[in-house]
Amino acid sequence: MQSLIKIFKYSFYDVLRSRWTVLYFLFFLVSTFALLYFSGNMSKGIVSLMNVTLTITPLISTIFGVMHYYNSREFMELLLSQPIKRSNIFIGQYLGLAISLSFSFVAGTFIPFLSYGIFVSQEVWDFSLLIFTGAILSFIFVALAFLISILNENRIKGFGIAILVWLCMAVIYDGLILMFFVSFNDYPLEKAAVIMTTLNPIDLSRVMILLKLDISALMGYTAAVFNQSFGTTSGMIISLLSLSMWAILPIVLFNSFAKRRDF
């Protein structure tokens, strides 16, 4: 456990000081300030930031995850030769990267909103939820990136697959849902929609935020079903469980692969 914390600590320092992380932080800082400035109002700013967050956070986390894994292969060898348990090394590295990425994201978005007075506005909970889902998405996609990397020795191939996974979850999946809706329009689709949403972390995060931001629209007609499914306490718990499963499952798989792997 101790060694896990130590590995995490140093990898956190390392990633946090990388110029990519700094760029990532600056990107969110500048774009959040810009969104707030151009939308002029905080709830509009949150909506725009949501679009950015749900797209960029998973993408950057995926790219960083793959890059970090392949770049630290040799250093991992050195670490593996040290008297430390294997899983501690990998989990420590994972946490170091995921936490520093979420940290850059949270800091980058939080500072502009803080300066616009988020704490005295009504939107403080909406914003907190947005930050929270952004951070969880970082964890999920770093985990997926690590898993993909360990399954592919070839870094070009690993990189390609990781980007493809992101593209599927961020864009293609929704297109498939829409196609499904169009083809089965005669059937009651609400339950299917709920299930399909729960299965994709990006969609699930989006719906969780929507329940705060667009509650008026989601109250209409059939959408009430969604509110009953995701808006209730048990729905919230299921959503959170599903999100954490998305972060935990890949990393558990990754860890079991890492245990049996030759370096």
Partner: protein, 421 residues
């Protein structure tokens, strides 16, 4: 020049005469006290004992009475809100005479009947009544006026305990009335908060209607009325106004009307009316218009509604001018590919155009109807894809080359900044 002066003199004499007769009536009038310590201990006895134009003062206490018929012009005033309790067994006041005043009473528990529409105070074929500062609780119908004229209903608090639509009455219910003033009332927990049918030339203002299980306000066939400074919030189905013309609604607040069928305001076959300076906030649908014509909708704020405006294809010649559409999920929806309504000089927070000549008006027209709104109209569950990247891309494609969205429904002069008035 002579005729107006003579008219004036006639008018003057009339006024003096009127004044004198009332004054004489007052001289004639007595005060009757009702209370446990008084010789008269029930309201009914007092009414029998009273002569026309008398004043009955009801002292604080608990009066278990019902079916009290007021059949002569009387003023009934409660001291410190005496309680008139119907014990869930019947209607309490029935006013059948002109010029009756009821003030400062607490009227409660009329009970539910499926045979008659029971009410806390029922006014039937009467003129000049004043119902003021009463508290009504659990009265099925609160204040019910039929075929009456020139009455004032002011400052009452009507609280119901309605659970479902079939077993509920309305808080303030007017039927075939004219020249009424309904002001400063606070109504809650009924089927409809304020209900008008065939009511004309009336003013409804400063009322608060919340948490009704159906409509905060509901009127039909009621022309030439003015509604202002009212608040309609948290009603299950919002406000519904139907089959009326020459309505002027201004400075009302329609907020938090959320449910699967909830509208800030539902306009059905309303014509030649003005809707100005209202606030529509946090409603499932801000304004829903069906079969409306020649409406002027100006200077309203639509904020954070699910659908700000849902306008059906059978609406014609309506104008939306200088409204603010801010942070709504959908700004405008319609079910037709043609639009016969005009949107101009509105502010749209979704607008992304530019203003090169700096005249405050955007240089590119704004299309408030998006492709996704169409998708949701046809496949309601698709709303779960709201704000997803895929949908944004679809919307963008449609924006560049409109195929499905109505080409005529545009705001050609979108404002760059929120409009103040």
């Amino acid at each position: 020049m002579q005729t107006p002066i003579r008219n004036n003199i006639v008018l003057f004499v009339c006024v003096i005469l009127c004044f004198l007769t009332t004054f004489l009536n007052f001289l004639n009038a007595n005060q009757i006290k009702v209370g446990s310590q008084c010789s008269i201990s029930s309201v009914k006895q007092a009414i029998i004992a009273a002569k026309k134009w008398d004043t009955i003062i009801i002292q604080n206490g608990n009066y278990k009475e019902r079916n009290i018929v007021v059949n002569k012009p009387l003023t009934i005033i409660g001291e410190n809100f005496p309680v008139i309790d119907g014990e869930n067994n019947g209607q309490i006041f029935l006013i059948k005479a002109d010029s009756v005043t009821i003030k400062g009473l607490q009227i409660q528990n009329v009970g539910t009947s499926y045979v008659e529409d029971r009410a806390g105070i029922r006014v039937s074929i009467a003129k000049n009544c004043l119902i003021e500062n009463n508290k009504l609780f659990n009265t099925f119908f609160g204040i019910y006026l039929a075929k009456s004229e020139n009455c004032i209903i002011r400052g009452n608090e009507v609280t119901g305990i309605a659970k479902n639509e079939t077993e509920a009455g309305n808080a303030i219910h007017l039927w075939y009335c004219k020249k009424m003033l309904v002001e400063n009332n606070h109504v809650t927990g009924h089927r409809d908060g304020i209900y008008f049918e065939f009511v004309t030339e009336s003013k409804i203002f400063n009322n608060i209607s919340t948490k009704q299980i159906r409509y905060g306000m509901h009127f039909m066939f009621s022309h030439s009325n003015e509604y202002f400074h009212n608040r309609f919030t948290d009603n299950d189905a919002g406000v519904a106004v139907m089959y009326s013309s020459h309505i002027y609604m201004h400075e009302n607040i329609f907020a938090d009307n959320w449910s699967t069928v909830s509208n800030g305001i539902l306009l059905k076959e309303i014509s030649d009316s003005r809707i100005e300076e209202n606030i529509f906030e946090h409603n499932t649908i801000g304004v829903y218009a069906e079969g409306c014509a020649r409406l002027e909708i100006k200077h309203n704020n639509f904020t954070k509604n699910g659908w700000a405006v849902k306008i059906m294809g059978d609406c014609e010649d309506n104008r939306f001018d200088e409204n603010n559409f801010t942070a709504n999920t959908f700004d405008v929806v319609t079910n037709s590919s043609l639009s016969h309504n005009l949107f101009e000089k509105n502010f749209w927070s979704e607008y992304t155009g530019y203003d090169l000549d700096k005249n405050g008006v955007g240089d590119v027209p704004f299309r408030p109807v998006k492709l996704f709104t169409y998708i949701v109209e046809n496949i309601p569950p698709a709303i779960i894809l709201l704000r997803s990247l895929f949908i944004d891309l679809l919307n963008l494609a449609e924006k560049v080359t409109p195929v499905i969205t109505p080409e005529t429904l545009t705001d050609n002069m979108p404002m760059m900044k929120e409009i103040k008035w």
